[in-house]
């Protein structure tokens, strides 16, 4: 990235919650329904309608706050944020301004240059989403209010990030946490996890912040990185040419990879917040916070550390498995049944993930349950089957739902560990390949693999390769 100036980035993330209903009414909030079918007097903003707070939204906000090391406010209030826009039927958005539910949090991110870095979280507040504008070609726009009143958490960071990469690291971690908590489905394309970035630059060593631009319309990690990098260049060029950065909202254009000014919204920054008289204050007791804390799932950070320290997994394995909650839970169920954690990790990252990807199904629907997989791993551990045969057993378990033992029995896959039987196969192989055997005897060690391979082939993979090796060694000595 440009190194002429120091970059300062703060992020505002809007997280759409996974509640069944909207924040202030009982309308369902399923995505992709017929426009305006999921509406009622409250979310249409009709006069006289009374919004009533969905308790689950508060619970989810507390979860998110605790998982990001925030203090949970014992008392918070809702406010009206006043502005006019066609997707906002009431002429104000119900949000929180003074006294938000969570404040003073932080997350640790991994950065390439500086190792671990603490990113402050200023606040998390609850609010309602606006409706959606559909643009058609004619001289009108259309409004769909299904999304109006959908519950959001707005998570505001401190301006602590110094590069696009740091911003992405923070966002990925936040994304992972809210998905882990189950409060958000994490779908960026559908807008369940949206990001606005405040970007400014300043001369190195200057303490005062430069004027910032607010970037909107960033719906993928890739776009966020592109938009920030473009914006930093734009501001640096502007200042180098003797210009000044204007405080404004800029829209990212994904096709061009550029940002452009959204004129006309500048004036709208006078929101005249005031407490919403329709909503009574929210009081969150210590007991409530404690009960939410008690029910929090173990978070990815903690799993990552535990997999390495307690289970002895390499950092890479621990990272891959802890990244997704469902995969981590599958792995943990497996480890509870089979005590070799590294073998479990190899199978989860290998055969299981491969088969899931190929079939395009989530791990929660994996036909080979942790129980069934443990059954396969047990048979490798006790030498009934080799690792190679185990892969075909896995395929069969996947396709039939039968246990490993059933499949090993039915297909006669039990590994041959009978010395006599293996020896007679080996003798046949030697007899058929006298020349090579003499060469091997003469010191051409790489032929060992050839002989073991031939025996494995003749036994249809059922000979125990370790035993074949031992017997071959004996033959060479004798």
């Amino acid at each position: 990235m440009d190194s002429r100036y120091e970059v300062v980035i703060g992020l505002e993330v809007h997280v759409q919650l996974t509640t069944k209903t909207k924040i202030f009414c009982g309308c369902s909030k399923d995505f992709g329904q017929q426009p305006n079918s999921q509406t009622c007097p409250v979310c249409l903003g009709l006069p006289g309608a009374l919004p009533v707070l969905n308790r689950q939204v508060v619970e989810d906000a507390i979860k998110a706050g605790l998982a990001t090391n925030c203090q949970i406010a014992p008392r918070s209030i809702f406010a009206r944020k006043n502005y006019f826009y066609p997707d906002l039927p009431k002429g104000y958005q119900i949000s929180q301004f003074e006294l938000p539910i969570c404040e003073h949090g932080w997350l640790n991110i991994e950065t390439e240059e500086n190792g671990q870095k603490k990113i402050g979280i200023t606040r998390i507040h609850m609010e309602e989403d606006a409706g959606k504008l559909l643009h058609s070609d004619g001289d009108s726009s259309q409004v769909d209010l299904n999304r109006a009143c959908t519950p959001l958490l707005e998570i505001v960071s401190e301006p602590d990030m110094r590069s696009a990469d740091e911003a992405i690291a923070y966002l990925k971690q936040l994304h992972q946490i809210v998905v882990y908590l189950g409060v958000c489905d994490g779908n960026m394309e559908e807008g369940s996890f949206r990001c606005d970035a405040n970007v400014s630059i300043r001369p190195w060593g200057q303490e005062e912040f430069g004027t910032r631009a607010e970037l909107k319309n960033l719906n993928s990690f890739r776009f966020i990185k592109q938009a920030i990098e473009y914006e930093v260049e734009r501001q640096a060029d502007l200042i180098d040419d003797g210009g000044t950065v204007v405080q404004e909202t800029r829209l990212f254009d994904a096709d061009k990879g550029t940002t452009r000014s959204m004129r006309g919204k500048e004036e709208a920054h006078d929101y005249r917040y005031f407490p919403d008289p329709d909503l009574v204050p929210l009081v969150v007791s210590d007991d409530w916070v404690d009960s939410v804390r008690g029910a929090l799932p173990e978070l990815p950070d903690s799993k990552l550390a535990r997999y390495q320290q307690e289970l002895g997994l390499p950092a890479y394995d621990a990272g891959v498995i802890s990244a997704e909650r469902d995969l981590a839970e599958y792995f943990e169920a497996l480890v509870a049944l089979h005590d070799n954690a590294k073998v479990c990790a190899n199978w989860v990252m290998g055969e299981v993930s491969r088969a899931l990807n190929e079939n395009g199904i989530p791990v929660t629907a994996c036909p080979v349950s942790p129980q069934l997989l443990a059954g396969i791993l047990e048979r490798i551990a006790d030498n009934t089957i080799s690792g190679k045969i185990a892969k075909t057993v896995f395929e069969d378990v996947w396709n039939t739902g039968k246990t490993a033992d059933q499949i090993i029995d039915e297909k006669g896959l039990k590994q041959v560990t009978d010395t006599g039987a293996i020896e007679s196969i080996l003798d046949e192989v030697i007899a058929a390949n006298q020349g090579q055997f003499e060469e091997l005897k003469g010191g051409k060690d790489k032929l060992t693999g050839f002989f073991v391979g031939q025996v494995m082939k003749a036994s249809k993979g059922k000979a125990n390769p370790g035993m074949v090796n031992q017997l071959l060694k004996k033959k060479l000595e004798g």
């Binding site: 069944k20 209903t21 308790r55 004036e267 204050p281 009081v283």
Partner: protein, 95 residues
């Protein structure tokens, strides 16, 4: 407190009200009088008192996260000045 013309014009613009010169003049005087009257409250000593946003001492009015039938698209659009089959129609919004 003295209400200025500029403030009235600013608030009018935020509220999308087009006021004539006369109206701005009149509103400035009236708003100034109203605010001046309320100003009297500032004479009270409110040191250490938590700001009150509601007249009733009530807190935590919740609903459970249970869905109930929506009114539906026909009902939603029945009072719309302009609509298509399923959407409200508004003057074109340019972003």
């Amino acid at each position: 407190m003295k209400m200025t013309r500029q403030e009235v014009e600013h608030v009018a613009r935020l509220a999308r009200l087009a006021l004539s010169e006369d109206e701005v003049e009149r509103m400035t005087g009236q708003l100034d009088a109203v605010l001046g009257y309320v100003e009297k409250l500032n004479e009270l000593d409110t040191e250490g008192i938590v700001p009150t946003a509601h007249a009733v001492p009530m807190e935590n009015a919740f609903r459970a996260d249970e869905s109930r039938a929506s009114r539906g698209v026909v009902w939603a659009l029945q009072n719309a000045p302009e609509a298509t089959d399923e959407c409200f129609k508004v003057p074109k919004v340019i972003e």
